[in-house]
Symmetry: C3
Amino acid sequence: MGTKFEGFPNVIYAQQFSRIFLEKYFLPLTDEMQVLFENRGCELLRGKRMISFFYQPSTRTRMSFEMAMDYLGGKVVFSTENAREFSSGAKGETLMDTINVINRYRPDVIVIRYDHKIGAELAAKVSHVPIINAGDRKPGQHPTQALLDWRTIFKHRGEIDGLKIAMVGDLDKGRTVRSLSYLLGKFKGVKIYFVSPPNTRMGSDVKRYLRRHNVEFTESTDLRKIAPLVDVVYQTRAQTECGTIINRKHGYFIVDKTILDLMRTDAIIMHPLPRVDEITVEVDSDPRAVYLTKQIDSGLFTRMALLKMILSPKS
Amino acid sequence: MGTKFEGFPNVIYAQQFSRIFLEKYFLPLTDEMQVLFENRGCELLRGKRMISFFYQPSTRTRMSFEMAMDYLGGKVVFSTENAREFSSGAKGETLMDTINVINRYRPDVIVIRYDHKIGAELAAKVSHVPIINAGDRKPGQHPTQALLDWRTIFKHRGEIDGLKIAMVGDLDKGRTVRSLSYLLGKFKGVKIYFVSPPNTRMGSDVKRYLRRHNVEFTESTDLRKIAPLVDVVYQTRAQTECGTIINRKHGYFIVDKTILDLMRTDAIIMHPLPRVDEITVEVDSDPRAVYLTKQIDSGLFTRMALLKMILSPKS
Amino acid sequence: MGTKFEGFPNVIYAQQFSRIFLEKYFLPLTDEMQVLFENRGCELLRGKRMISFFYQPSTRTRMSFEMAMDYLGGKVVFSTENAREFSSGAKGETLMDTINVINRYRPDVIVIRYDHKIGAELAAKVSHVPIINAGDRKPGQHPTQALLDWRTIFKHRGEIDGLKIAMVGDLDKGRTVRSLSYLLGKFKGVKIYFVSPPNTRMGSDVKRYLRRHNVEFTESTDLRKIAPLVDVVYQTRAQTECGTIINRKHGYFIVDKTILDLMRTDAIIMHPLPRVDEITVEVDSDPRAVYLTKQIDSGLFTRMALLKMILSPKS
């Protein structure tokens, strides 16, 4: 199975995964993981050691990974959100020192969140232990989020080809929409509607990638015009406290009752969380809202599947 | 047993517990927990998962809960004191998002310390997983502290009825004295002597509750007058660095050799810790000082008992 | 075996260990630990409980201790780098309160990093549970670092007698060079070359100790003159961001290609990490550089050996 997993055993970029891998190997494995979870866990990774090494707090992502390890019977032998303390000085160099040091303790996998862009990539270059990128910095990637988003959509639609998706909000800073865009480039007939204020448009690197992979995209400042057209509204967080207020001056970006009424009945609403007020609370109880339910579950099953593939590829 | 435990399986307020529950079920169970502890633990909660979710550091309380879980054979699957990072924005709403997310991972219990008043209550409203309030914000509650204080007093006196207790210090900000006052309202003939500077008097909400429950109380600014009268001197921490110095201008609030000499020989001195200088070190070796010994032990047995009740009510 | 271990079961100062202990008991035990590590761990300390109690973040040291505990089958039941929160106020007093509280939970060992000099010593005075000093504050000690440095040198040279070692950098603030100097005072014919700017020379307390123990030492500001003479170049971190730049004005303290070319072929280069730029990256691949390899390994085996001695002295 591992032979199909390009770039393995490291998980660094969303685009390292092929369509074949995603559909034939990854997806069924996440479903197996769901069964293990519903059975309250297993001992598959007994004796395996994970280190969570976060250069900035990300309680949500760290919890998802550590719960995934626990449900598989593995152990989180060391966990920190204070890793920045290690790196007092010349940044890139010290990251390599750090990864070298951690390697000497021979854990079975390192989950890293770095506060600079190329952290996980650099780490994987020097590490003999598999590296999982739990998010790097802006604009960076968050490949496990892309995988879980991908799975959420696939489980809902049964396929990705022909997907129409709106990505809304601070698109230039959002790791999640960047990583998901890269992943969608693997599929056919996908159309992305970027909806953002003019000052937070999707980066040109991603747009070049989409053009190269024949992914159609448009840019807009009014979610009301886009909402009726799409299978998925993927909302993202305003990265500054006053971000949403500023946004309102330049267009319409909030998912609320108005948008719900415009959306198709078979569409879904996603959000990587945490949410501020860019999705109003009234939306939560709508059956199309999956950000507090199926999307979270997909995150757990996705991380379980990755850990299983990396730490026990044969079983 | 669980049927007697009002509000179960959540532990939110001190006053949710009935007298019957406390005396007939809770107290004997804490004694059983002491035996388990002295036997160096057990496997009663094997396979059970606790999440410690703290919005502010509280090393002391977190340690007590996590040690309790360990002595029962359960597992702390995730622990953070950085939870505030989750809540970037509209506070109450995001707490509910957070609790919803944690619920998807299906832990068996969530221990939460929140930095706003109604945190645990809100959490319990949306959570399908039992919530234990490990302290919320000012003026808030700290029900497990109230239970351990209650147990400490009960184990010493053999009953609560007729108790005379001095509560000393920053009474308006102290969660512990607030929660303990609520709990004492369940008993007969209790008299509370509040001793504090005029500007940190006990809140009127608590006083109204005490009147409604026929608990006698007085207010004073001189501990020397009160010390000879009471079974318990319950000292609290000056919440500001210079607090105690300010206090001294307005009365006498320090527990020292002078107070020791005035106290009854069968009285005890309690403190929720951490202490600054409101109890002088010379007091520590007095047999009446229980804040570094029996009160800590009661904290462990209390949290073990609560976890046992919530996670293994039948065994 | 424990009878030979002066000061046991606490590990507070580098100088508490005798030469006999180090050579006859400690060193062979670290080699046994290496075998256990290479076998991916054991269950020797099953049921034993360690508490990591750090008053300041030290991800590196904490990781080494917690991995050591894990490879021996013991459990880290509580871990914090936020312990400072405990100590809101009168420092020394509150540390004693804290240690008293932790003792009530009856862990089997407490690993403490304190932010004041005499922390571990104070802790050991009140604790019934063994204390391991994981570094105290400036100028303080870091005895487990001294032991691991000692082992690294011993494994390389086969003995310590006759050692010529350069200690380079901010010597007045560096705990590690202080602790190592104390330890080297136990051996014969050792010569230490202190190389530092005039304003960061080794403290007079250490120099007095060395004179008393007949350890020869010199002071210099040019590593190029010293490098050809020594078995070990022990580099330390510039403690301020701009420290190294300042240093360059006052002499020559960087380990780079120039120094490599001057050093003997059988010498080694050590560093306690984290490194800033006082060793250039080009040095890393030289076989004499052990700071990212054998020195790290020695740290793990040293901490495993200490934990084994303290927690399972008979086995």
